[in-house]
């Protein structure tokens, strides 16, 4: 399949390893990956913080970049939630009939990475090897907006060598919430403390998720506490191969 990668602005800038891992997994599965160079940001930060005027033009930009795609894969559950939940309404509010039709046609072809593997390709075993003790954090947008269910865990369970341990309070928000972490730093910190404690209680070497925004937050807390526990995007685990590292 011809797969278009929407890397998202923060993965592009801060977490390129996640993007490389997505490419590795998809190519290993025999797909062709394309990267439309004009892509930037889905507009989630602006939209969720109340800057609708700034977010609106990004819808047309996204459509322009991806409209011919067979499938768009995104290694970020919150960005996919933004596209799926808000783009149709945003296009409608712009009263642009052509855009409305294009969004309607494109949105069903946009997949979060794990969702693409489990629901579109109907895979669980992607031939990965990752000999580490790992716990999985269910990001809110993946859990509630996208309904990923246990898809990510099924992918992880099929990884060879992995020791998957369940975290307490799996469905609890980590407290990131974009600008929430800054605007309500105290509450966000308290929520993070619960999450990092839960991660540490598992005894895992690494915490994984389908969204680097949650992981950046959790990793920030784990690093500040000098715990030595890492965070790693699900794609990077699935990209692991025997003998590769």
């Amino acid at each position: 399949m011809r797969v278009s990668l929407f890397i998202t602005c923060y993965n592009d800038t801060l977490f390129p390893e996640t993007g490389k891992a997505v490419v590795r997994v998809l190519e290993r599965l025999g797909h062709t990956v394309e990267f439309p160079a004009g892509q930037t940001c889905c507009g989630q930060m602006h939209w969720n913080t109340g800057y609708q005027a700034e977010a609106l033009p990004l819808v047309a930009r996204f459509v322009e970049q991806f409209k011919g795609a067979e499938a768009v894969v995104v290694p970020s559950s919150s960005c996919v939630a933004m596209i799926r939940d808000h783009y149709p309404k945003m296009a409608a509010s712009l009263k642009d009939e052509k855009l409305i039709a294009e969004v309607e046609a494109l949105v069903p072809r946009v997949f979060e990475f794990s969702e693409f593997l489990t629901k579109r390709l109907e895979l669980e075993d992607v031939g990965a090897y990752y000999p580490h003790r790992v716990t999985y954090h269910a990001s809110c947008h993946g859990l509630r907006n996208l309904g990923l269910g246990d898809g990510p865990q099924r992918l992880l369970k099929a990884v060879r060598g992995i020791d998957l341990v369940e975290i307490e309070g799996l469905e609890q928000c980590c407290g990131f919430g974009g600008t929430f972490a800054v605007k309500n730093a105290e509450v966000s910190s308290a929520m993070l403390a619960e999450k990092t404690t839960a991660v540490l209680n598992t005894g895992a070497e690494a915490c994984t998720a389908c969204d680097n925004s949650c992981l950046m937050h959790i990793q920030g807390g784990l690093h500040r506490q000098r715990t030595g526990v890492k965070t790693v995007h699900l794609a990077e685990i699935l990209a692991g191969e025997e003998g590769a590292r």
Partner: protein
């Protein structure tokens, strides 16, 4: 917090109030314990309903239909209530509602009232107005009684004293009821409250109640509760004055079938409320002989006029969103500066009090969606929060944040500008980056508002190469 009136017009912004609340470890322990117990009970009784999702949808449809035809159903309620001997009053705002109720109590010839289900009266600070008019109000809901005797404020719409534990309640009762020998078992406390209240029930001739639902078809009023104290207030006094927001109306008697399943399971994890009272007008020799209903707007028609905010009025006040909210669980209810706390408070309060009074509440959420997931009438609270944030942004105009956001917006509209910004970011962060023991670059301090991040979190330095740079070099090298 005790004694402070929860008034959104004077309360500190949420982050400040939250910080204060979070310093109270006992309160946080109590809130956490209570919300966990209620959530577990709720999950259990919801799971046993195979048609829960259909019920939620039915609840949503009923409430949505009501709001779309609110004028019609309110008039129908007024007609039917009047026909059966009730007197309907209309209050445009809190001041008018206070004035009407105070005048009605005075006309009843009593300088005391017993009260039940009074969150709406908390919304308009009725007790203060009654006191100013020389009228003594006695709360009879057990939790409200605890709040009143403790000179405290409610912190939850269903369990107003959720932030107090048993020991604290015992201390309040001992002090205020003058009971030095009071035991500490739940039944001891219940018994003390029962004795304290019984005397009021039998003596006070005027009752003031809220309402869970108004039924347009019959002109009836419905209250559900767990203790039976409400039923005493509804049946023993000579005069009963009910005050309800205009959003409380349901079209048909039959609609109770849906909401009376949704409400108790969502609220306290009960299959059914122990006491379900529905009364219609007056009847000679049975119950109150004078019955008034005050239908209060207090900004609800403005909410109704806002297409995106409208669903807020669908709320049936179960409080499930509060129990599920990770923010509420950390702060408790007082931080929201309003009788309506938690996610529903974060959307209802700013709309009730006009946006300029509650700027911070729409941001008091990580948008995790747990509130939407449990809402029995499917109010998309995150969606309304975002809508209100947009209103705040528009209202605020230009400031440091909006300038930064506008700049970012401009950057994202051009690939060239985005690339330039990525390069610039790497340069700008360089002075802040420190190497850790593993030789990785981390930022432990950020300036200004971003400092909120580095209070408890480090930030990994930007990688040497962006993904798109790697992708391009990969294309060139063919690897």
């Amino acid at each position: 917090m005790s004694g402070a009136v929860l008034d959104p017009t004077t309360s500190p912004a949420f982050p400040m109030a939250a910080k204060a609340a979070m310093g109270d470890t006992q309160l946080r322990k109590n809130v956490r314990h209570a919300t966990e117990v209620i959530q577990a009970k709720r999950a259990r009784v919801v799971d046993e309903m195979p048609d829960w999702q259909q019920l939620r949808e039915a609840g949503k449809q009923i409430r949505q239909h009501t709001m779309e035809n609110l004028d019609f159903y309110l008039e129908e309620f007024e007609r039917n209530c009047t026909r059966s001997g009730g007197v309907v009053h209309w209050a445009r705002d809190a001041a008018e509602a206070r004035q009407i109720v105070t005048a009605l109590v005075k006309a009843s010839g009593s300088d005391e009232v017993i009260k039940i289900k009074s969150m709406t009266t908390e919304e308009i600070h009725l007790n203060d107005a009654l006191e100013a008019a020389g009228i003594r109000a006695y709360e009879t809901d057990l939790a409200e009684l605890i709040i009143q005797l403790g000179r405290d404020q409610p912190s939850h719409i269903v369990v107003p004293a959720l932030h107090k534990n048993r020991q604290q309640i015992r201390e309040i009762f001992q002090r205020e009821m003058n009971l030095p020998e009071l035991g500490e078992k739940p039944e001891d406390l219940a018994d003390a409250a029962r004795r304290f209240l019984r005397e009021k029930f039998l003596r006070v001739k005027t009752g003031v109640s809220g309402a869970n639902f108004l039924i347009a078809e019959t002109g009836g009023v419905c209250i559900v509760e767990s203790e039976g104290n409400g039923r005493m207030c509804l049946t023993l006094p000579e005069t009963l004055i009910t005050i309800a927001g205009i959003d409380k109306v349901l079209p048909r008697y039959q609609d109770l079938e849906v909401v009376l399943q949704l409400l108790p399971r969502s609220a306290t994890g009960e299959r059914m409320n122990p006491y379900n009272s529905i009364w219609t007008g007056v009847r000679a020799g049975d119950g109150p002989q004078t019955f008034h209903v005050v239908l209060m707007d207090n900004a609800r028609t403005e909410i109704l006029a806002d297409e995106e905010g409208r669903q807020t009025l669908n709320c049936i006040r179960c409080g499930a969103c509060q129990n599920a909210c990770p923010v509420y669980r950390q702060t408790g209810g007082h931080a929201y500066g309003s009788v309506y706390a938690g996610p529903i408070g974060a959307i209802l309060t700013p709309q009730l009090q006009e946006m300029h009074h509650a700027q911070s509440l729409p941001y008091a959420s990580s948008l995790c969606g747990a509130c939407y997931e449990v809402c029995p009438v499917k109010i998309n609270i995150p969606e309304v929060l975002i809508h209100l944030r947009n209103k705040v942004v528009k209202q605020n105009g230009l400031n440091a944040e909006s300038l930064a956001m506008k700049t970012m917006g401009m950057i994202f509209r051009s690939e060239a500008r985005f690339r330039a910004a990525q390069r610039l970011g790497r340069m700008a962060e360089a002075p802040l980056v420190r190497k850790d023991g593993q030789g990785e670059g981390w930022i432990g301090w950020l300036p200004g508002i971003l400092g909120g991040w580095t209070q408890v979190r480090d930030l990994q330095a930007m990688p040497k190469e962006t993904f798109r740079e790697w992708w391009e070099s990969r294309g060139k090298n063919g690897n």
